[in-house]
Amino acid sequence: EPEVTQTPSHQVTQMGQEVILRCVPISNHLYFYWYRQILGQKVEFLVSFYNNEISEKSEIFDDQFSVERPDGSNFTLKIRSTKLEDSAMYFCASRPPGLATFTGELFFGEGSRLTVL
């Protein structure tokens, strides 16, 4: 069964360092997302991406964050200068094309845990 894969599964970094989290969405999907979940808190929307551009972003997704689809398979989230409060599980998700109405069905990866020291 096709699945969304994320790397690394866990990354530890020093405050102020740049981090890139990588995702390989399901191959025929065209809509891509990043969500995050701080330990013990709710899953929060960061950004959605379609047709090589951001379609929506939340207030959390400020200038320190960026997303890119550098090739036909990878989808990356870059955090330019990490802060302690960026420590969280970051989930990539994707959904297939072809539906006029978003059914709410997203396919999530297993997440990348980011720890900022």
């Binding site: 379609s55 929506e56 709410g104």
Partner: protein, 112 residues
């Protein structure tokens, strides 16, 4: 501000003991309400979509219902493998918005 509140935060049941999880929402314009299941260390897994009050969806031991203010996830005769955190999420109206707003979830434990 759009809000999604789930209750209880945690629920422990015996195998076979049916119960319901609640998701109440306050949003400016509901486009859809969704239930997801999340196992420890995993990403959320989609269960149901509900679009309008009165709608119901079923899958195995789970049944989701929707009113104008809340949704219930009914679990009938649960088994230990139903243990997970159940997340409710909403999609609100507004432009091309497709970011989901999640509740904190209900951590469900089914004891054999």
């Amino acid at each position: 501000e759009d809000q999604v509140t789930q209750s209880p935060e945690a629920l422990r049941l015996q195998e076979g003991e049916s119960s319901s999880l609640n998701c109440s929402y306050t949003v400016s314009g509901l486009r859809g309400l969704f239930w997801y299941r999340q196992d420890p260390g995993k990403g959320p897994e989609f269960l149901f979509t509900l679009y309008s009050a009165g709608e119901e969806k079923e899958k195995e031991r789970l049944k989701a219902t929707l009113t104008k203010k809340e949704s219930f996830l009914h679990i009938t005769a649960p088994k230990p493998e139903d243990s997970a955190t159940y997340l409710c999420a909403v999609l609100v109206a507004g432009g091309g918005a497709d970011g989901l707003t999640f509740g904190k979830g209900t951590h469900l434990i089914i004891q054999p």
